[in-house]
């Protein structure tokens, strides 16, 4: 076991897969010479060369379209969107082309593409650079959407995504790169589409992922001091959504709080809550509470931004609310 950061975990996954399979290559803005704007690909350019670590023009359609084309003819590109917010400039490729090519042509085409994108708010980057639009991308059949919350999950899932023959949107969080966690030694993969219980408890089920996981773990410590033990189920993959551990936990606790950084309306929580009500109606002892970002574009001002984002006190309040 090694204790590494999320950034290191992602970087290691990329490096190992590039070493292992020559058809894997990286493309994106500033991924090469710069080393990546989040330093994930630092050192890659010197080691793997300009062809396998391709700096692209600022042209998301070209980047993603080219990545799709290359994937269709046997390469395994890992395209980077500098931020998930730039996905909107190339929305066609993310949701209209990549997820549909395999289906529309009767299974003839494969798109073994990984799109890595950084999302989330909290660094005063303003409304158009701070979104968490995960639910939007999770809406589309044909795309897989992965969002790990621990270094161990990040490394194992990214490797799996690169080896997968399906297009995978791999979501990273701008303020989680320095989160530390234990990572197994040696080679390991994790299954896409499987949620995981990150903390056991008996009083309330918290369903969350990514940044929400980090906040929920902190909230769990505070709650434990008051004698409330929450069970945290980490979704890890948004599509396909694995509800089995969620339902199993809910049938034990009968009360759930869903924590996400995106907006509440039409969000991940809406989907999870609907499925809990559908699949475990007779186990519901209280209405499900959702913790999410306030329904505002994220402002620049630090205090306002922090007030808009979900925080640990919001989770504490939600847990108390659901226990009433």
């Amino acid at each position: 076991m090694a204790r590494i950061t999320m950034r290191e975990a992602i970087s290691q996954a990329l490096w190992e897969e590039m070493e292992r399979d020559p058809s894997v290559f990286i493309l994106g803005e500033e991924v090469g010479v710069w080393g990546g704007t989040y330093a994930v690909t630092k050192g890659f350019y010197d080691h793997f060369g300009a062809e396998r670590v391709r700096d692209t023009p600022i042209a998301e359609n070209a980047i993603l379209g080219a990545a799709i084309g290359a994937a269709m003819v046997g390469q395994r590109p890992v395209a980077e969107l500098m931020t998930i917010n730039f996905a909107f400039s190339a929305m066609d490729y993310v949701v209209n082309q990549a997820p549909k090519l395999h289906y529309m042509f009767g299974g003839q085409f494969k798109v073994p593409l990984v799109i890595r994108a950084v999302g989330g708010g909290g660094r005063q980057l303003g409304a158009t650079h701070s979104q968490t639009p995960d639910a939007v991308f999770a809406h589309f059949p044909g795309l897989k959407v992965v969002s790990p919350g621990t270094p161990e999950d990040a490394k194992g899932l990214l490797k799996a995504a690169i080896r997968s023959d399906d297009p995978v949107l791999f979501l990273e969080h701008a303020t989680m790169y320095q989160v530390r966690g234990d990572v197994p030694d040696g080679e390991y993969l994790l299954p896409i589409g499987k949620a995981k219980v990150q903390r056991e408890g008996r009083d309330v089920t918290i369903v969350t992922y990514a940044k929400g996981l980090e906040l929920s773990l902190k909230a769990a410590e505070d709650l434990s001091k008051e004698g409330i033990e929450v069970e945290i189920v980490d979704l890890r993959t948004l599509r396909p959504l694995d509800m089995d551990p969620v339902i199993e936990s809910f049938e034990k606790t009968n009360r759930a709080v869903i924590v996400e950084e995106g907006w509440k309306s039409y969000g991940v929580g809406s989907e999870v809550a609907a499925r809990i009500y559908e699949q475990a109606f007779d186990s519901v002892d209280a209405p499900i509470v959702r913790v999410a970002q306030k329904e505002v574009p994220l402002p620049y001002n630090r205090t306002l931004e922090q007030a808009a984002l979900p925080q640990v006190p919001d989770i504490l309040a939600a847990v108390k609310e659901v226990l009433k």
Binding site: G65, I68, Q97, Y103, D166
Partner: protein, 320 residues
């Protein structure tokens, strides 16, 4: 070019014509649904182009793709079946008119978003670059697609990264219902390549032999130099943009004028002048094509619909 190849080209053009005409009839009979974009009038473009390629060169086009599919070697049976939505279509009935393709025949679709496949074409060439071969990707698109962002991003990338793409613009004078002069900054599409420092040519698209010659030269240039190039092919579609187009944007006289320059007619005259074929031989080819289409329609109509389980197949390569 030898006689066989010439007559084969002629056969392909007539086959396309007949498939499109039957397709129109079936559409109006309600047996084909959705959008359908006919290639009638433009047969010389894809026929000349595909005839000039090596089998290892990739072809990708937009939604006016039936002719391209046939030229690449996809059978009339599969084309008709896909139009009728049958499971024997090359896309199992799940793509329809705009999504014909065959990996085996190196035909990469059939794409519905205007300009959307251009960056993908750059990607195909990028993949070949990684593979270390000198395959050329032939990317076909209309005049309308040259105004959208994808066009510029794709051409720019291809030039910057030295990708082997031959960009073929089928300029049929209209982007849907809007004449080129109204939509584009320049009416001569080839000029747009200049902005990318990219070599470019213009050719008469009603003359299949002229197209063939220009395409051969262009493909060869791309292959040799490893740089992309643009070929503007001036053509005309005799029918509307798609089925149901009331064609208010052009006059009947104009259409008639172009129909007098029917590419099939032009090629017949050339073949007989070259003594490559007699009129009777050409008529026999016509009949053969007619028969083939008839069989294709029968095949398609007799084919089964996809089963309900097909609805949930091919969403992922690896189902979870």
């Amino acid at each position: 070019m030898n006689k066989e190849k010439l007559l084969d080209m002629y056969y392909q053009m007539v086959l396309i014509r007949r498939v499109e005409e039957r397709g129109a009839e079936l559409y109006q009979a309600g047996k084909i649904g959705g959008f359908m974009h006919l290639y009638i009038g433009q047969e010389a473009v894809s026929t000349g182009l595909v005839a000039a390629r090596e089998p290892r060169d990739r072809v990708i086009t937009a939604y006016r793709d039936h002719g391209v599919a046939l030229n690449c070697g996809i059978s009339a049976n599969e084309v008709m079946a896909e139009l009728l939505g049958k499971v024997t279509g090359m896309s199992k009935g799940k793509g329809g008119s705009m999504h014909m393709a065959s990996v085996e025949k190196n035909m990469w679709g059939g794409h519905a978003i205007v300009g959307g496949h251009l960056p993908i074409a750059s990607g195909l060439a990028l993949g070949d670059q990684y593979a270390g071969n000198d395959n050329v990707t032939i990317c076909m698109f209309g005049d309308g697609a040259t105004n959208i962002g994808y066009f510029h991003e794709a051409l720019n990338l291809a030039k910057a990264w030295k990708l082997r793409v031959l960009w073929v613009c089928e300029n049929n004078q209209y982007g849907m219902g809007t004449a080129v002069e109204r939509a584009s900054a320049v009416s001569e599409i080839r000029q747009k390549a200049e902005g990318f420092g990219m070599s470019n040519e213009r050719v008469d698209g009603m003359d299949v032999l002229a197209v063939y010659e220009a395409a051969s030269k262009a493909i060869d240039t791309v292959r040799r130099t490893g740089e992309p190039s643009l070929l503007e092919v001036v053509t005309y579609r005799f029918r509307g943009h798609s089925m149901g187009d009331p064609e208010r944007y052009r006059t009947q006289e104009e259409v008639k004028k172009w129909q007098d320059n029917d590419p099939i007619g032009i090629f017949r005259r050339q073949l007989t002048a070259k003594k490559a074929a007699t009129l009777k031989a050409l008529d026999e080819i016509d009949a053969r094509a007619e028969q083939e289409v008839q069989k294709a329609v029968e095949f398609a109509e007799a084919s089964p619909e996809p089963g309900m389980e097909e609805l949930f197949k091919d969403i992922y390569v690896e189902e979870v």
